[in-house]
């Protein structure tokens, strides 16, 4: 390797883009050539200076200003986790209002001719079916939403 060839490779040497063979050739040359040693040292100084530039922080409140500047319409309102949290709440509500709920379900059933039972004939155990169904429904919605999210993400 001569000095001109070395000068054409000095940057790649410093940025570690050379093949091991070329690296070795450069190493061998600079052992006996002071000019090229100097060239290499200088380029190393430039590159390490460039590589070690610290990032400077933006003025205070920058992130807040960015967040305030974002459009609002893409706000996520419904996540599957919300319906997961809603399931027990809905269950409790359904249990509290089990009588009118059941009554309306039965009235609907009577009107469509599925069956005719009066609320008073039903025991407490059967009336617990309503909240249980509501909870199951909510969980079903959660599962569907979670699956949809997982697939689309």
């Amino acid at each position: 390797m001569n000095c001109n060839e070395l000068k054409s490779l000095v940057q790649e040497y410093v940025t570690r883009e050379l093949t091991p063979e070329d690296r070795h050739r450069v190493d061998t040359h600079v052992m006996d050539c002071q000019d090229c040693r100097r060239e290499l040292a200088l380029m190393s100084a430039v590159v390490s200076g460039l590589d070690s530039q610290p990032a400077s922080e933006p003025p205070a409140g920058f992130a807040a200003r960015v967040m305030a500047g974002l459009p609002r319409q893409r706000e996520l309102v419904l996540s599957p986790w919300w319906s997961l949290a809603a399931a027990p709440v809905l269950g409790v509500l359904a249990y509290l209002f089990r009588a009118p709920l059941l009554e309306s379900v039965l009235r609907l059933a009577g009107r469509t001719g599925i069956g005719q039972v009066s609320v008073t004939e039903l025991g407490l155990a059967q009336m617990a079916i309503v909240p249980a169904v509501v909870v199951l429904l909510a969980l079903g919605v959660t599962a569907a939403a979670a699956t949809y999210c997982w697939r689309s993400c």
Binding site: L42, A55, S56, G69, E75, C153
Partner: protein, 192 residues
Amino acid sequence: MGREVEATAEESLVRRSAHGDGRAFAVLVNRYKGMVFSTACRLLNDAGRAEDAAQETFIKAYAALPGFRGEAKFSSWLYRICYNSCISMLRKKRPEVELKEAATASVPGPVEEVRSRSIKQAVMDEVVEMPEDYRAMITLYHFNGLSYEEIALTTRKPLGTVKAQIHRARALLKTRLIERVGWEELRKVMWT
């Protein structure tokens, strides 16, 4: 392993942000604000306009996130948006006075002063004074860690041009460092 976990965490932050999760995006803003702002400072040579460009970068990124498919690293994608914001800002208005001020502010004092500072600062002072194209290339490569290919994609320049310009920029930096500091002085700085 640690980096893998970090990458996965970032992937999830990016995905959530794309779905409009503001809190996830805030984490990304805080993670990258320093790099984006510093990149803009280097490209524009003006801290005030750099803040505007950095802000614009994040707002554009948020809007474009649903289209981000993850072919590139999120950081590279973000720096590309930042580069474009800065370039359009440079084209829009070019307040010569401000640029000149930024340049003269960084002109070094006597050699003694340079010696007392680190070589890093001396290199940075020279970068500030480089032609716009060179400054951008050098910043994207050495500061943002983009590959030659990514820089070509970002700047819409042929790969050969990118490589040649980065080479010329480094060579120019080297020459200017010697001119400014002198080899003997530089050697003292380099080995102290």
